[in-house]
Symmetry: C2
Subunit: 195 residues, 2 copies
DNA sequence: CCACCATCGAAACGTAACGTTTCGTTTCAG
DNA sequence: CTGAAACGAAACGTTACGTTTCGATGGTGG
């Protein structure tokens, strides 16, 4: 049966830790499945038993190490403050060389690995984005940011950070996050719920 | 000397065409340098003489086939209309299976190919983005969209399209481009020129 | 018009990482 | 205690890369 102390659980923890360590040392691209197995003192078949590729393995490592606390909007009752802290967290993630290299690596791999892309889309988009939209709707029921389509608001706020990380090489910063937030929130309500 | 009819120019045209054809047939990921060389009836060393990798080759093919007309803001005198057509063009590019596969492939490869990333950043960011900001400033000198930081405006408009293409699997559409444009342009002027 | 030399196409090669298979051993459950 | 499942380690075939070699081709100076 599945246990938290069994051999498989210990191997899994060792593998994810080895992957993160190697990523920090050599960078995402220079890490191979063979190196992960060696570092974790684990056989390669064990890697492929649980993950079909380097990309899916690192997506799990990324999720466990930098998961919901960074990508999910918090709930203190003040929606605008929660959105700001949400953008601050993602900015922090994108500024740190180690975590941003990991994020860029996984996002880049997903562009030519359909299976990883599917997992990422389900996990990030459907699950996380769904919860984030729910958080926005909850704020709107309390009279905050009424008139914004939740999905569109989420897009407009977080997309510029991803755009800077992946397409341009301009750095993100707290000041940039503030500017995006202030500008978008200054916008009139979106004309319809098309998005 | 360099000529437009010499052997090298003919080879170059054949190579880029073969790359685009193969990309349309099998998809970006399934195209190999060997296959491009074979299809173009060209030796592999000829490929590596001009391009250091598959990514840089396809960036050239992308630029020649889907270049400035798609990524550069036009100038009809009406800035808002030009911005809308700009977003429509990129939407069209991202909607077409062949061109979007090419864009996704190059963008994805750039995430783990520093040389390609550097070229893309210089080419896209510095050159194109510079011209686009200049177009926005020209409109502002005519009294259009005064108060927006040009760089921020460009980010806010185009980032959501890239975000949908690369991170979520939600489709773009003209209606989405319209909603983004209308919402952002409805925004108050950005508080400062930080971005 | 011709002879020369750079450049070409084609093929063969070495390398790196992949993902799989095999085999003897270890671990946990009944 | 016993057996089945999962393990670590090593070896293997495969694929695509990027390079090297070699004979042929084509544009150029005499």
């Amino acid at each position: 049966m599945e246990s938290t102390t069994g051999r498989t659980a210990r191997s899994r923890a060792k593998i994810l830790q080895a992957a993160l360590d190697l990523c920090a040392e050599r960078g995402y691209n220079a890490v191979t499945m063979e190196a992960i197995a060696t570092r974790a003192q684990v056989g390669k078949p064990t890697l492929y038993r649980w993950w079909s590729s380097k990309g899916t393995l690192f997506l799990d490592a990324l999720t466990e190490r930098f998961g919901d606390p960074y990508f999910q909007i918090g709930d203190t009752g003040d929606l605008v403050a929660d959105l700001r802290n949400w953008l601050y967290g993602i900015t922090e993630l994108f500024l740190d060389p180690v975590s941003s290299d990991l994020v860029v690596g996984v996002a880049g791999t997903a562009q030519h690995d359909p299976e990883l892309a599917a997992i990422l889309h389900r996990q990030i988009h459907l699950t996380l984005s769904g919860r984030n939209q729910e958080r926005i709707r909850a704020g709107q029921r309390n009279g905050q940011l009424i008139g914004f389509d939740p999905l569109l608001l989420e897009d407009l706020l977080v997309a510029p950070l991803w755009y800077r990380l992946l397409i341009t090489d301009r750095p993100v910063s707290r000041a940039y996050a503030d500017t995006v937030l202030n500008t978008v929130l200054g916008a009139a309500a979106s004309p319809s719920g098309d998005a």
